[in-house]
């Protein structure tokens, strides 16, 4: 991964020096080895803090809504999953495509420091990943962890490939994965209604209504969210362990249905680790079943199942009875 990062820095330097772009969006190193922050780099000097490593999990696409409207071109490093969000934002006319230069970068799955810490390891000073082994270095020595146990949940079942690239920096091919991303959804579907209700109530009752899931979500790009508008009549800042409040997440899942690319940022940012991506995945699975397989963000144009009518569309009664296609 270090070789990839070096290539990225070189390329960013060239682009800034030549004046081809006014800024490069990437990640800035933090205080530890695991806390990089998304950042825009405007000078070669600033690139001294540029990093790209196993902890660069953030999806940078949404920042382009603002950045692409600034003067001059913006170069951005996008991981495979990020490119779907990018396409979707283009489709929704949120990003000025002509102002963005996309550099596709490899991703072998990103790590979740909370999962590493949950294994009783703190004071992490570095990691080294070799296939499925994650060697974690600390002040006291090193420990080897099994990678699937400590990757971000969004990376666990990811098989995405770059959908957009003006150029690419890929030095290592990702080994093919044979995974079913709907496995967890199927487990929930197999539950009785009561069990499923209990599962979500317990999970959603942890919600602190911080809106991190909404604010990070590339599909949530409304200029003013209805929940932030005091005159909407539904704005509610309060969290409450009642089902009415928990509808917030369900309403949000409905709102992004057909547009959610399954980038998994909602679950990554949730301070209470609520598996919010499972709500979205359930919608994705149902859309696949009812309208034929569809992956949001695969292209930046074309019709989408929930916004275009065809005569063969599932009837509401079929959906309700679970009898469609």
């Amino acid at each position: 991964m270090k070789d990839v990062a070096l290539k990225m820095i070189d390329r960013a330097k060239q682009l800034l020096e030549s004046g081809e772009v006014a800024r490069v969006i990437g990640w800035k190193k933090g205080d530890f080895c695991y806390d990089p922050t998304p950042a825009a780099f405007e000078t070669v000097e600033e690139l001294k803090d540029f990093v790209y490593d196993y902890f660069c999990g953030a999806n940078l696409s949404k920042y382009l809504i603002q950045m692409s409207k600034k003067e001059g071109k913006t170069a951005v490093f996008l991981k495979p999953c990020d490119t779907y969000s990018f396409n979707q934002l283009i489709k929704e006319h949120r990003i000025k495509r002509e102002n963005v230069y996309v550099i596709a970068v490899e991703c072998l799955g990103k790590l979740d420091i909370e999962k590493i810490k949950a294994q009783g390891i703190s004071f992490v000073t570095g990691v080294e990943v070799v296939e499925k082994d994650v060697k974690v270095f600390t002040a006291d020595g090193e420990t080897t962890l099994y990678k699937p146990d400590v990757v971000l949940s969004k990376c666990a079942t990811c098989t995405k490939t770059h959908q957009v690239k003006d150029e690419e920096i890929i030095l290592h091919e990702r080994p093919a994965k044979d995974v079913n991303r709907f496995e967890e959804v199927e487990k929930l579907e197999a539950m009785t209604e009561e069990e499923r209700f209990a599962f979500w109530r317990e999970q959603l009752s942890k919600c602190i209504r911080c809106n991190a899931c909404r604010n990070v979500c590339p599909a949530c790009s409304c200029l003013k969210c209805v929940f932030d508008n005091p005159s909407s009549g539904v704005a509610a800042k309060a969290n409450d362990d009642k089902f009415e409040e928990q509808l917030f997440h369900i309403i949000r899942a409905f709102h992004v249905a057909g547009r959610c690319t399954d980038c998994g940022e909602c679950s990554r940012v949730c301070p209470q680790n609520i598996p919010l991506h499972l709500l979205n995945r359930k919608f994705i699975k149902d859309i696949d079943n009812l309208y034929g397989e569809y992956q949001a963000g695969e292209t930046d144009e074309g019709k989408t199942p929930l916004t275009s009518y065809t005569e063969s569309d599932a009837e509401p009664k079929d959906v309700f009875n679970g009898e469609a296609k």
């Binding site: 933090g30 205080d31 530890f32 806390d35 990089p36 922050t37 998304p38 950042a39 825009a40 953030a58 920042y63 909370e114 810490k117 703190s122 004071f123 317990e202 999970q203 009752s205 942890k206 602190i208 209504r209 911080c210 809106n211 991190a212 909404r214 604010n215 990070v216 003013k224 932030d228 508008n229 005091p230 704005a235 509610a236 800042k237 309060a238 969290n239 409450d240 990554r268 940012v269 301070p271 209470q272 680790n273 609520i274």
Partner: protein, 346 residues
């Protein structure tokens, strides 16, 4: 000093719960937060940092303030405030770490100053705080920067936990009362073990990466300089404008008041608010802070400059490090302090 074997802690909780409410770190759906104790709940005193701070035990995230009952043209205002002490509804907040305890002092200065917040005071009066010393601080901790001793928190009762025992020491009248209630479960002893643990913990604390943050520049006389510092732009660049940092913070105190329509009338409630939100302090003319940079700056200026300038230099950050761990994009107060506070040892 008293001690109780770890495997008997459940008896202690049950004993307290016979006559008082008990708020304690409980694991639910994988995460540990303060919650009401009950038989079968998975208590986790070992968890260093609960996701939410314990403040919601006495400053709940949502709280009804009053109700308006309407009948024809009559509006009746219903006062829902309670005197918990009078009603005998006392409770114990158990397992509070030194940083979170200090945070209560920060909140008190806001809510108990004139005019006293009677909702807050009613809960505080009914509350006995049992603190728990830290034995395994981690890299995001920096309470020492604010003069807090993680090995000897104050509180009505101070406790220490090791592999075998919970050690107990009452500090106040409230603490003595609680001790009298549960004394039969305890035996004498523990001074040596506690002293040894303190020493071991202090060695860890001294070596923490954030042990020596420099706060020198955060003084009232530098207010304008700090406010105008160009670094705020880059510091806040990645901010999502979510409320995670404010809602996990033990000292954040802002709330909004709203009305909620019910079948019987109007319910007026307050709920935590976040200065990171676009509708925070929204007024008829619009919002006083129109960019995320301004909102971000407000939060940290409040913690490090505005609040201390009104409270004899007391910072309204206690170094719990929750925002360090929980910010989705890894922004936090430490990065602000490091960027704006000046070089270490200045």
């Amino acid at each position: 000093m008293l001690k109780i074997a770890k495997e008997r802690l459940n008896e202690l909780y049950a004993k307290i719960n016979e006559s008082m409410g008990l708020f304690i770190p409980v694991k639910k759906a994988g995460e540990v937060n303060y919650a009401v104790w009950g038989e079968g709940k998975e208590v986790s005193l070992e968890t260093l940092k609960t996701v939410k701070s314990p403040k919601n035990a006495f400053f709940p995230q949502t709280e009804t303030m009053m109700k308006f009952k309407t009948e024809g043209k009559n509006i009746e205002v219903v006062d829902v405030r309670k005197d918990y002490v009078e009603e005998g509804k006392l409770f114990v907040l158990f397992g509070v770490k030194a940083c979170d305890y200090k945070a209560i002092e920060v909140l008190d200065k806001v809510f108990l100053a004139e005019p006293v917040d009677t909702y807050y005071k009613a809960r505080k009066d009914a509350m006995t705080v049992v603190t728990l010393a830290c034995s395994r601080p981690e890299e995001s901790c920096f309470c020492g920067v604010f003069g807090i001793d993680a090995t000897a928190p104050e509180g009505d009762v101070t406790t220490w936990l090791d592999e075998a025992y919970l050690y107990w020491q009452a500090n106040t009248e409230k603490g003595e009362k609680l001790t009298a209630l549960v004394k039969d479960l305890f035996e004498e002893g523990g001074e040596k073990e506690v002293a040894a643990q303190k020493e071991a913990t202090k060695a860890i604390l001294a070596k923490l990466p954030y042990a020596a943050l420099n706060l020198n520049r955060f003084k009232p006389e530098n207010l304008n300089d700090l406010f105008d510092d160009p670094a705020w732009e880059s510091l806040s660049e990645a901010c999502l404008g979510c409320g995670t940092c404010t809602f996990v913070c033990p000292t954040c105190q802002c709330f909004d008041i709203r009305d909620f329509k019910t079948h019987e009338g109007i319910m007026r409630y307050r709920c935590w608010d976040s200065c990171m939100y676009s509708d925070f302090t929204l007024m008829a003319h619009g919002n006083s802070r129109t960019t995320q940079m301004q909102r971000f700056r407000q939060r940290f200026m409040h913690k490090l400059v505005y609040y201390p300038s009104q409270n004899n230099g007391l910072y309204s950050c206690v170094g719990c490090g929750r925002c360090v761990n929980k910010c989705p994009q890894r922004l936090n107060i430490v990065k602000v302090i490091k960027t704006l506070g000046g070089k270490a040892n200045d």
